[in-house]
Subunit: 432 residues, 4 copies
């Protein structure tokens, strides 16, 4: 296989490059705890970006900051050869941390509506950033062992959507040219030390909608003079459940979540509107279309049932396509993972309902991309859960206020995967 032959020499560099990982783990652990303690919301990742940029600079990268707002690009050219883009996302979520960790966050931020909210790295982007910082350092330290161009991308605004697009639109690919391949990874609620991926569709498409339901406000004691938007919102939430339960075939997959519902300011005033933020996951265009049409139909039908004085408004907050891994590139990368990791640690991923804007880099550049998952939960508990018939354990997973991936071997594995993946695509010195 051509790819394999070409990367052969680079792969031989693996043991040398990764030999220094053990010594760097304590430093990475400190970085991780620092990022975790100081989470920042989408497009507000100034402290995070500065810290990561500083490390890239110290490692010898040419550093570009402020791309797409708060994005960071590190470039390292070691000679002729392919250009490989490694991407990590760096933003956190408006979740109030309840892990009790010594480095738990107490941070607050301001959300898109100007509300002050708690902030937490509840999706592991702190881990992603730490992994990529660690891999970037090792690859820089051993730059003599590979030839080509490495693009290290710390992307803002993945949770909100728009971060990948913002960096691309802001000229990301103008700095050092477009990449030949785009690589990225996510910590997942699989067993720590495991790597999971699949060719083709890996992750769901997301549509995030804001639904504003209009009522007529008034005194809490005189509902007959009002149209109560709280009751309307409750009806909409319950009715939205029927989309998945009644309108999506058992053999298809969809998720419809109302993640946020807000109405009113106090007990004795009936407010004049309610706001729902809805998140939709699908894998098939026909299912997506049906679900979106059903949301629209339900929201409008319920507003009519309520006698709402104005039509509801439905606006798009974010939209991501499915994350689709290039078939050939994924096959080759899986072989590289298989060759490096112990037997049984590289597995086929199930379809993941999570979504990503990672795919936009490959799409925009017109090159293959591969995304994979790195387990972050205690291996024993996850395997017990699987033996009990469930992929899921009871360990809190991404977006939970209790989400706390185990540091070991998670930290190590995610650096290894990036180095394996990068070297597998980069050329050998004097060859590439």
């Amino acid at each position: 296989m051509g790819t394999r032959a070409a990367s052969g020499p680079a792969v031989s560099a693996l043991s040398a490059v990764l030999a220094g990982l053990d010594a760097r783990l304590p430093g990475l652990e400190r970085l991780y705890a620092d990022l975790h303690r100081h989470p920042e919301l989408s497009f507000a990742e100034t402290r995070t970006a500065a810290a990561l940029a500083a490390r890239l600079g110290a490692d010898g990268y040419e550093v570009h900051t402020g791309i797409g707002g708060t994005g960071v690009l590190g470039v390292l050219r070691t000679g002729p050869g392919p250009t490989v883009l490694l991407r990590a996302d760096i933003d956190a979520l408006p979740v109030e941390e309840k892990t009790g960790l010594p480095y738990a966050s107490t941070a607050r931020g301001v959300d898109a509506e100007g509300r002050e909210v708690p902030v937490m790295h509840a999706c592991g982007h702190d881990m992603h950033a730490t992994w990529l910082s660690g891999a970037a350092a090792l690859l820089a330290e051993h730059r003599s062992r590979w030839s080509g161009t490495l693009l290290v991308v710390f992307q803002p605004g993945e949770e909100s959507g728009g971060g990948a697009r913002a960096m691309i639109d802001d000229g990301l690919f103008d700095v050092a040219g477009p990449p030949d391949v785009v690589l990225g990874q996510h910590v997942c609620p699989g067993p720590a030390g495991w790597v999971l991926t699949r060719a083709g569709v890996l992750m769901a498409a997301t549509d995030a909608l804001r639904v504003t339901l209009h009522g007529r406000g008034g005194h809490g004691s005189r509902p007959e003079t009002t149209v109560d938007p709280v009751v309307l919102a409750a009806s909409v939430v319950l009715r939205l459940q029927t989309i998945v339960s009644r309108e999506v075939a058992a053999g298809d997959s969809a998720v419809v979540t109302v993640g946020s519902l807000h109405a009113g300011t106090t007990h004795n005033v009936i407010p004049d509107h309610a706001t729902l933020d809805v998140n939709i996951r699908t894998f098939e265009p026909a299912v997506r279309e049906r679900v979106l049409a059903a949301v629209d139909r339900i929201v409008r039908g319920e507003a009519r049932a309520a006698g709402a004085p104005a039509e509801p408004e439905i606006t798009e907050l974010a939209t991501y396509g499915v994350t689709r891994n290039d078939e050939a590139a994924t096959t080759a990368l899986t072989a590289a993972f298989d060759a490096y990791f112990p037997a049984g640690r590289v597995a086929e991923a199930p379809l993941v309902t999570g979504s990503e804007d990672f795919g936009e880099f490959g799409c925009a550049a017109g090159v293959p991309s591969v995304f994979w998952l790195v387990g972050g939960l205690p291996e024993r508990e996850v395997l017990d859960a699987i033996a009990g018939g469930r992929f899921e354990s009871d360990v809190p997973s991404n977006h939970s206020p209790l989400f706390a991936p185990v540091l070991h071997p998670t930290l190590r594995t995610g650096v290894e995967t990036l180095v394996v993946a990068a070297l597998h695509r980069l050329g050998s010195p004097g060859v590439g």
Copy 2:
């Protein structure tokens, strides 16, 4: 009738005292617009209290501020005779004004949870304060025409509950002794120029509850790892509707309103709890008890149905008893109103679902109290609505973001009622 005879001389002072009202109306209108433009939330009425206290001082009252937080007491003694307490409430609501008035509020405040919220005089307390300020000035100007002690009370924290109690507990009645009668009024969605009251129960009891529903948070794409509190909250809201529709007899009255419902921070995170603020109005203790028990039963039953990981919490935000007008005092006052106002302008009030902590002053002092309503909507529109079979017109009413009582004759009528009511109880010079 004794009361009538006794008050005869004082009543004869009426025309003299009220003769100056016309000249004062422009100033009162400016005061009203100023208060309206600068609303302040419960117990944060510092600017309002200062303005009202300053006017009392200028009118010759002995002024006491900071009673019960931001409460104001003005005392005027003119000789022997009864002590009459006139009360107005002065706080505003977390409502975003949408009246488009030239003096509309754009104010913001901080609510009990520390959230920044819009603030509006959506319940007419700016009108109440203006009325009382106007009446206090007239009664002070003509102090030679009556004998007794006038207590002018500007009460904070009526909307939140607790304001009357706070002033009493803070020694209100120690300053000039307890009153012999307590009088107060509220602007209502009746026709402007009308005065409505009734002996016995006039206004409902209120119980305000905060319900916290616990779920288990997680990723918006993986609801199966969570217990979704948004869905639970929606079920609770719909099920609470059945209390009034199924558990309260048609001949009884109750209102159960969820005025505020908040859950979550963003679309792709399932939050771990939801918060509902519930407002309950009843007139009968047995109905109140049944409704409260039903709320508790529904909230707990729904949490079980949801598999909630923790019991819901139900805490009391505020509680008011019914507002009960003293029979004899109300009969006498109605006669005084009848004697002053044109025929047809004084009517029996219906039972009002609104609530008040006004009653606490009379209860604490062990003296009669009378509360009445002054219409604030355009007379023609209200009468047309009544002719069409409804007490309610379509004009926005109290607590609506569109609430805007007509200034004329509303401003005048509310000053007249206070002066009539006060003089009717105060003694004549050399007699009282």
Copy 3:
């Protein structure tokens, strides 16, 4: 008072007429048990009508049967004087009796849809028929003591609606001319031995609607090929609760009940429609109009939200106006009751949410009518409940499968009321 003077002589006949009641009670008790054991649905009261007609004939009445289907009219003329119509309804309900009484019903009938259903006198019409049969016998036995014409009407089809109208349309008033007054009564969940009435509106208007919701049927395992009418029906039922809870003012009264909901035939087939029978009670035209409009709006809005393939159908099953007692006639009758019954046993009735087509007789004849209630529950338990703050006791009431009025003194009281009421209107011999 004219009425009183005129009825004086007739009233003096009271003790003579009622002297025979004691001896007749065992026979009336047997009649009641027999009717109770053999209930018949609306317009199928053939056995009941035959038994009552036979007794009227034996008592000397001119008997007309088959009026309006299964209605019975007995006529007794004793001389010049007023014509008094006494009416009892005689039909039963599709309820499965669970009283465990020795004379409990095990009867079955066929409802309007051709379904076989259990049948029970769950509303006491067996008591009404027994009362009127007893009073008719006593008044016939003592026909020399009054002068005038007595019309004894056993009306079918009150529960279904349409029975009064059917008798009138079938020439009821052609037989012996129209009455001068129409009198009727109902057993109620008040204390046995008590009589309750009120001038003006006594009972609610009823609108009964059938709502047919159309879905699209299919296999229970493939809801995505269907529009599930069971889910749609559930949404409609919950949303209908909001009419009373949100759209009817606390000071107004309305009841919206879905008494019957049917959809589907088996677990693994999603049916293509659901049927709801809805019963609405109101006292005010404006409230009635708003409630009916809200039902229509909700049903159609929910069907849209469901994506129903066809508009819902809403048809009227029955409609009754309010039962309104003539002011003067009620005042006079109340005086007669007061004069006869021990102090405290005649009380003002509350507004009753039950409905009646009794009022149609008086309307059609253009004469006054009076309707009253006779308590049927154990006095002690009801009074204890009232003392506890509730008009309602826990004793099962009308339409419950456990409804079982106490026989004593209920049987006696209801005969007494009819005799008092009739004699109070009839003339004296040689006078009338």
Copy 4:
């Protein structure tokens, strides 16, 4: 492959056996129309069984009737060799036919609750019986071309569940010994002329539950004296939707259908209970367990929220395991289908949410079984639907009142599949 070699000679008989199919199609069409016009509910298939038994007898089978109630077994022994069981189910459903076909059903039956209900072959069992009757005749006519024992089984009570078990328990396998393989088929909403199957799990497990919700009955106008089971049932139905929408992972599959909901008899009586028949489909034991637990939790939690006077009752109406095709037997049969049918007509089936008790025959006998699907919808419409991104077309599918498979080529294909499958397993004369 051993199976293939062994069946080689028998397969060579195929063209001879199927040569007579064309001539028999008109007769099969008449049989189908007759069965369709006269559907019978589960375990009441007396007319159907008699007709099918008569044809078997005429074809020379040894016929056994009344096995497991209304089951029929035909036995044909032609010499040494394997015993092959071919099974068709013959019962119909309580669905009111709305196809408008000339041979549409107007039949009525009595369901398990004694209700009279419409009956329709809405699941194609009339087609299954016709297919098997046709294949049995052809195989009997050409009995000299195969060696072994053929068991032709017409099974009652598949829709209700229990039919396969009843036949087995009633000694099905005692008549002619157990089979070596069990074969069966179902008409499906795929394209007519197509055959679909898959090794391993093909069809879902079903659990059918009856949920009885207890309220307290009473007068429709006085809900406050009742606990309304209609409102409770509505809440349960909506809440059950959340099992699939919130508790089943997007990568898992489950269906929860309330196929039937009944409460009450008339509009003005609040009934004392409601009955829901719930159908649950799952493929994985862990998912099944979670769904069943959730149903229990929701039903009980909602009853508590309602203040129900008694615990709900949940009873099992039927339970089926997944339908699992033997791997080796399915591979071999698929090869036989591939060899016979035109290219593209034999496809891999998706996971089917339908359920079957077919699997019980193979389980009880301890032998392999294979089940497959035969398309019954117009090929062009189905393929257009698939091209539009959906497996489903808009053509009404199984259990719909509009279900009407196209007769051609559906009738032919289902006879061919049975003959191919039987001969592929049976021996050659003088060899088997």
